[in-house]
């Protein structure tokens, strides 16, 4: 009986934790350091397209606003949600559930984008986080070593 009770209690407890402030958070400075690690967390911006395009964290990706329509790759790992006051608590809770069920460890950026900016950390234009290859028509090199003039004196 005991283990079962414990299980029920822990499920209840985690449900309460999820519904209340007490979600694992990460401070802007700490996150900024993690971005330089070999395997940094995945940064998901859930504020929607408009806010995302206006300026976001380096490496942050637009995850849309709909947790139900979000499908992770199944490899798990740490995720940091980039949100702000515009994201309601229920929606945030739904995001956390969705990602936790997909074996991610989820953190929320403490104080959202405002706190990041207040910490003096840089925001970037969203397109800097993506590449758009193919915008320039290009020719695939035919040879292995076609650029054979040294570019510059090494300094």
């Amino acid at each position: 009986m005991r283990p079962l009770l414990l299980l029920v209690a822990s499920v209840l407890l985690s449900a309460i934790l999820l519904a209340e402030p007490g979600w694992p958070q990460i401070a802007p400075r700490q996150l900024s350091r993690l971005l330089h690690e070999p395997v940094p967390p995945l940064l998901l911006d859930i504020r929607g397209r408009g806010a995302y395009l206006a300026g976001t964290l380096p490496q942050a990706l637009n995850a849309g606003t709909d947790p139900a329509g979000f499908l992770p790759d199944g490899r798990g790992g740490d995720v940091v949600l980039i949100s702000d006051d515009s994201v309601e608590r229920e929606r945030l809770a739904a995001w956390i559930r969705r990602l936790t069920n997909a074996h991610h460890r989820v953190f929320i950026l403490q104080g959202g984008v405002a706190a990041w900016r207040a910490a003096g950390l840089p925001l970037v234009q969203a397109e800097q986080n993506y590449v758009r290859p193919g915008t320039v028509p290009f020719i695939i090199p035919r040879g292995l070593c076609e650029g054979d003039e040294p570019a510059q004196e090494y300094r």
Binding site: H36, P38, P58, N62, L71, L144, E146, D148
Partner: protein
């Protein structure tokens, strides 16, 4: 004449005569004279592609087509031998040889249009962490080793790059976002214009028919005016691609694949050495 004495100090008196003889040993002979006294270094360096950079079939074939074939040797065999030789890094001697500064000593050949290895290294987390080229390319059993292994030798490409992906909905569209991150100490692929990393996203419908096939090349591209564009993967930060899936295609199954290629040309041209760096499959609901 203080250095020859220090050689003698370290190597013992018996070597003095040899060391003095080595004052005459210069790099002019392509390093043959060096091998007599430094067999360990010579044997290790022999394993690097650098040691035979001017005699490989790929090089001779390409050089035969080159507008100015003499230029090629400036990097592939400055001393005129089979490839890069001792003196191309250490200088033409004689002893004592100056300590080598990395990456300056490599820049002469690894910094050119289509060769941004050294430049991108200076902008990498590896450089910030105090690593040198040799810490990744020239180590064995914890110490420096002249084998200068590349992408084709050993396990340098193992776990060198990883994919992450997710799908999301926006209105009635589904978008795939794919990121690539790598651990090389410089842009990937390191090396020259012909090397490339290809990302391929393909999709199949319920019946297994291919409905989507998109490819991206990361490497050096040339535009129609003949200018080079650096489209290599930068070190230390991920690169992301967002692809709206064609909604009418009924895609149920996505395959995302990252391939490292040594041969030039499109992804379909055969390359016996090509390596799949990472691959993932995603089932759509």
């Amino acid at each position: 004449m203080s250095r020859p004495r220090s050689i003698a100090d370290r190597a013992g008196p018996a070597i003095v005569a040899l060391a003095l003889a080595s004052l005459q040993a210069t790099a002019a002979d392509g390093g043959k004279g060096c091998a007599d006294c430094h067999p360990r270094q010579a044997a290790a360096f022999e394993r690097s592609a650098m040691a035979r950079a001017a005699v490989t079939p790929a090089f001779t074939a390409e050089r035969a087509d080159a507008a100015d074939p003499r230029r090629c040797l400036r990097c592939h065999a400055p001393g005129g031998g089979r490839g890069v030789a001792c003196g191309d890094c250490h200088g033409s001697g004689p002893h004592p040889f100056p300590p080598l500064e990395q990456p300056a000593v490599c820049a002469r050949c690894h910094d050119a249009p289509g060769e941004n290895t050294v430049r991108s290294f200076l902008d990498s987390p590896a450089f910030a962490a105090g690593l040198r080229c040799s810490d990744c390319h020239a180590v064995a059993d914890g110490g420096f080793n002249h084998h200068f292994r590349g992408a084709r030798s050993g396990d340098l490409l193992r776990d060198a790059a990883t994919l992450r992906a997710f799908l999301r909905s926006e209105g009635d569209r589904t978008l795939a976002t794919v990121t690539i991150r790598h651990r090389a100490g410089h842009a990937m692929p390191g090396g020259t214009t012909g090397r490339a990393v290809w990302l391929r996203i393909s999709g199949r419908d319920e019946g297994g028919r291919e409905r989507l096939d998109r490819r991206w090349r990361f490497g050096w591209n040339r535009d129609r005016e003949g200018r080079w564009h650096d489209r290599t993967l930068p070190p230390g930060r991920p690169v992301a691609i967002e692809l709206p899936l064609p909604s009418a295609a009924g895609i149920r199954h996505l395959t995302i694949e990252l391939t490292y290629r040594f041969r030039p040309g499109p992804l379909d041209t055969p390359d016996p050495d090509a390596v799949i760096l990472d691959r993932m499959e995603i089932e759509l609901p």
